[in-house]
């Protein structure tokens, strides 16, 4: 690399437009489009007896009203089950518009299209749906117990059941290892529902070109390529006639990787059917009741260990609430099951989960995607062991760490990508050392005692995690140097605020030796790059970053070959700096990359002065060879794909000091420290930002956020007034330190960072509150009133 940009805290390329109101989010597009709005089920479980639209027909500006009966062919079929799995024996997905039965509050029943959104909502309010009530199922234990069924043909409401077991080195199963262990414990843990809750909801805007028979769709999605394929397949359109673009997206955090949402089928279909532009922008209540939730699990833990805290056997049984449908398969509980192991080498492990239907919003990944639950389980277990043995909590963790010389380390399980769970690199003892230093772990007991003497109640907590990042199957990158010397980079995955335009430009500028300002990056636009998977699982930098680096290396090699011809030099003596190819040791022998781009494309027609150099009478090139050599292509561009053999494993450790108010039970985070290892850093400023934001969401999950369903399946807190997301006043300043253990699996040595901040926070806060209060914390989130009740129950209130 000739230009040092990789690793620098470069300011973001995105910011000038986003700071001036020039961003283009979904609802900023299509000012003349018709507006769609939906009649959604007000009931958690009901049979639709009749839909009467007559009252709405006179609404001014009404264009169309659609129900399931209007949907043709595959548009009227259930939406795809995206990730099939042999253990998902009873997978079920919804229809784009409800057919016969609604299974959660918020399920779309009728679509209205009108001149504007106000009028569309007027019409929705006048449509009458006659429902026959069915018994709702709410809560996983209720789902197994009650006998009421979410889907008539799914007995016991169990969609999937899966067991993975890894015996100990001496061949014992978990039950046997626990039985034989000197000590054992059993306990239960509960984690509530939460949700991604991006500040921009979902949205879809479609334009049909009747002359060209082509469709352009904008969607606030984390995967434009896959939405495109789903639309083409469902609406029976030739793939080349469908373009999908993710414009600026106002946060995703997982919920927008789910697709195709009903609206992503219905809005394009309506646009084609009406021959008009149609747009739907989700409102906040719709987002609460019709987009996805996550997190809710009940875990039963049995653990056997020795006197030093080594885990000899661990048996975890998980009840996972996946809501009314399983379009995203069972990825979340699979991740919980596997990532639960964290940085630890434990004896025997058995994990069993049942993924269960309830009459609630479907559950699909939210930042962390099952990992916060798994880490909560393992870290609560470590604290239980420490407490039981009277040992330091950090020491018990250290006793179980995989050591730096044990990598690659095979956990003996199958990960979410269907590949072995093999950790590629890491240094957990060093992370712990750094964390203890950062938070002053060893000095805390004195601080706690001193605070106690003044009537204050302090506690310190710790949580460790390992995160599989950069999952496959692949991403690609395309790099083109045009004859003006500009570098155009594109990749198919999407952006929702991660700064991809900046970090991918840093990679390209570093690899090609060009100024950053000359590089532009496009993501999530199928017109530019058609093959991609999407942005999720902390994978974008690893996957597209490496693909773009590989594409740049291909372009660089070609540029040097052409430049060598032009300069009559050996390509090995050439380097590129500031967009100019130089011959080593001869400062006068150079050629701009722009000129190399001109020469790379043999021309018949000169379109400008510079282009004349590549025309057929300009000289150069041998008359005995074709202008384009066999196997070569015109142009200075390259496309490469990065497809890793398996995921790369980032890791981290967090610690927090909390204060609990002896009277009000209010919980305040006084300090929050993070040690994070995501391999080589491309842009430390952006990685820090990802961690800050992740911790803030983790704090929300630990102390505030929950989806409160009543027994009827009504979501009681479907607004920002009642679903408590942290403001600035609730989020502590995060102190960070970075360890860089490069990944051996990819050329840039990087690992993912997007989800790191959120993963261990609930575990850390539970650990800290437990330390402050001296009784076990077994559920999250924890409100002051719940802490108050716990104090009463433990006789310490």
């Amino acid at each position: 690399m000739t230009t040092k940009l990789f690793g620098e805290p470069v300011q973001r390329r995105e910011d000038p437009r986003l700071l001036t109101g020039q961003g283009r989010y979904l609802d900023d597009l299509g000012p003349g489009a018709l507006a769609a709005a939906f009649v959604r089920s007000p009931h958690a479980h009901a049979r639709i007896r009749d839909i009467d639209v007559s009252g709405a027909l006179d609404v001014e500006g009404l264009v169309a009203i659609y129900t399931w009966e209007d949907l043709p062919g595959r548009a009227g079929q259930p939406l795809p089950l995206l990730i099939p799995h042999p253990a998902l024996t009873h997978g079920r997905t919804a229809y784009p518009l409800a057919k016969d039965v609604v299974r959660h509050v918020g399920e779309p029943v009728v679509m209205v299209v009108a001149r504007d959104r106000y009028l569309a909502e007027d019409a929705c309010a006048l449509i009458e749906v006659d429902y026959e009530f069915l018994k709702p199922v709410v809560g996983v234990e209720e789902a197994l117990r009650s006998g009421n069924l979410v889907h008539e043909d799914v007995p016991d409401n169990v969609g999937a059941h899966m067991v993975q077991e890894v015996p100990s080195a001496d061949g014992r199963g978990a039950a046997e290892a626990i039985e034989a262990a000197p000590y054992s414990l059993e306990f239960r843990l509960d984690i509530e529902r939460s949700a991604s809750m991006p500040l921009e909801g979902r949205g879809v805007y479609a334009r049909w070109d009747a002359d060209d028979h082509s469709l352009r769709v904008y969607s606030s999605t984390q995967t434009s390529t896959s939405v495109r394929m789903a639309i083409a397949a469902t609406l029976g359109l030739p793939l080349p006639k469908v373009e999908v673009i993710a414009p600026d997206v106002g946060g995703g955090f997982g919920v927008k990787i789910m697709h195709p949402w009903p609206e992503e089928i219905l809005v394009p279909w309506a646009a084609i059917t009406l021959g008009r532009e149609v747009k739907w922008t989700e409102d906040r209540r719709e987002h609460f009741i019709s987009s996805a939730h996550e997190r809710a699990q009940v875990q039963q833990v049995k653990v056997g260990f020795d006197g030093e805290g080594h885990v000899l056997g661990l048996d975890v049984t998980i009840l996972h609430d996946h809501g009314a449908y399983t379009p995203y398969g069972i990825i979340v509980p699979i991740i919980t099951s596997t990532q639960l192991l964290g940085p630890y080498r434990i004896g025997a492990y058995r994990v069993e989960f049942s993924s269960v239907y309830t009459n609630t919003v479907q559950v699909t990944p939210y930042r962390g995607a099952g990992r916060p639950q798994g880490v909560f389980c393992m870290e609560r277990t470590m604290d239980h062991i420490s407490r039981h043995l009277g040992l330091d909590r950090a020491a018990v963790r250290a006793a179980n760490f995989i050591q730096p010389d044990e990598f690659p380390y095979d956990q003996g399980m199958i990960f979410q990508d269907g590949r072995p769970l093999i950790y590629d690199s890491g240094d957990y003892p060093e992370s712990l050392r750094m964390l203890k230093e950062l938070i002053d772990w060893d000095g805390f007991p004195a601080r706690k005692a001193e605070a106690a003497a003044r009537g204050r109640r302090l506690g310190i907590g710790i949580g460790c995690y390992v995160e599989g990042t950069g999952v496959g199957p692949y991403e690609g990158g395309h790099v083109q140097v045009t004859s003006d010397g500009r570098v155009h980079v594109s990749t198919g995955l999407t952006s929702q605020g991660q700064g991809h335009e900046t970090v991918f430009a840093q990679i390209a500028a570093s690899e090609l030796g060009v100024p950053l300002e000359r590089v532009s990056v496009v993501t999530g636009d199928t017109r530019r790059f058609g093959y991609a998977v999407g942005t999720f699982a902390s994978r974008a930098a690893v996957m597209s970053g490496n693909a773009i680096a590989l594409a740049c290396r291909k372009v660089r090699e070609k540029a040097l070959r052409i430049a060598a011809d032009a300069l009559e030099a050996d390509p090995r003596d050439l380097s590129i700096t500031d967009g100019v190819v130089h011959v080593a040791g001869d400062p006068r022998a150079s050629i701009p990359l722009a000129t190399v781009a001109v020469l790379s494309n043999p021309l018949r027609y000169a379109f400008d002065e510079e282009a004349k150099r590549a025309t057929q009478f300009a000289g150069g090139g041998s008359a005995d060879r074709p202008p384009i050599e066999e196997g070569d292509e015109p142009g200075l561009e390259g496309r490469e794909y990065y497809s890793p053999i398996r995921s790369t494993f980032a890791s981290g450790m967090h610690a927090a000091i909390v204060e609990t108010d002896p009277d009000t039970a209010e919980i305040t985070i006084l300090r929050y420290a993070v040690v994070h290892d995501c391999g080589n850093l491309i842009n430390p400023m952006i990685v820090e930002g990802q961690i800050h934001g992740g911790v803030a969401q983790g704090v929300g999950g630990a102390l505030y956020e929950r989806m409160v369903y009543d027994q009827h399946g009504q979501l009681l807190n479907a607004s920002f007034m009642d679903f408590l997301m942290p403001y600035v006043t609730e989020v502590p300043a995060v102190e960070t330190a970075h360890l860089e253990t490069p990944s051996p699996l990819n050329p840039l040595g990087i690992k993912g960072a997007g989800e790191a901040g959120v993963i261990p926070v609930s575990a850390v806060i539970a650990s800290a509150v437990e330390d402050a209060e001296d009784f076990p914390i077994d559920r999250m989130p924890l409100s002051p009133s719940e802490l108050f009740d716990l104090r009463s129950r433990h006789g310490t209130g």
Binding site: Q11, R12, E14, D15, P16, L18, L19, T20, G21, Q22, G23, R24, Y25, D27, D28, P31, D116, Y118, M197, P198, L199, E200, D248, V249, G250, G251, F253, D283, R284, Q496, G497, Q498, G499, M685, I686, E688, G689, I691, H692, G693, G694, V695, A696, Q697, S719, F720, M721, M725, Y727, V728, T729, V731, A733, V734, G757
Partner: protein, 158 residues
């Protein structure tokens, strides 16, 4: 329908809107100023914050007709003549005070008003000043830093 006249970012703008039209929708859909974002439409998230006669208001809780005759500043109006970014805008870029950018216009308007009233706020006053705006990306740490930096820039350039 009601005809209203607003001074938006220093320019007289006229619109004809139904009485129920929110100021946020009027700015975005009638006047084409889509920089003002709508995150909740119930006044909690603060994405839609604009300045009315210099004071921050939730444009999603304000009817456009009630803004008749008032001066409105939106994110599009924060930059100086010739499009030079304001100190607040520059500080947000410098301190990585934004990620997805959706809440950013609300924070920029709020911080602009805060610093106009209190050019040298303490950290507690900054936190208090932006405590009515939600951000789901940044964890706020760099937003606080941005506001602090903006105050410095304003002082340096005064």
């Amino acid at each position: 329908m009601h005809s209203i006249t607003l001074v938006v970012n220093g320019v007289v703008r006229e619109a004809t809107v139904p009485a129920r039209t929110l100021l946020s929708d009027c700015l975005r859909h009638h006047l084409g100023l889509t920089g003002t974002h709508v995150g909740c439409e119930h006044g909690v998230c603060g994405c839609c914050t604009v300045l009315m006669d210099g004071e921050p208001v939730r444009s999603c809780l304000t009817l456009a007709v009630t803004a008749d005759g008032h001066e409105i500043t939106t994110v599009e109006g924060l930059a100086g003549p010739g499009g030079a970014l304001s100190p607040v805008q520059r500080a947000f870029a410098e301190c990585h005070g934004l990620q997805c950018g959706f809440c950013t216009p609300g924070f920029l308007c709020t911080a602009t008003a805060l610093l106009a009233e209190n050019p040298d706020p303490s950290d507690d006053e900054i936190v208090e000043g932006i405590s009515g705006n939600l951000c789901r990306c940044t964890g706020y740490q760099n937003i606080v830093k941005s506001v602090r930096r903006a105050a410095e820039l304003i002082r340096e350039e005064a």
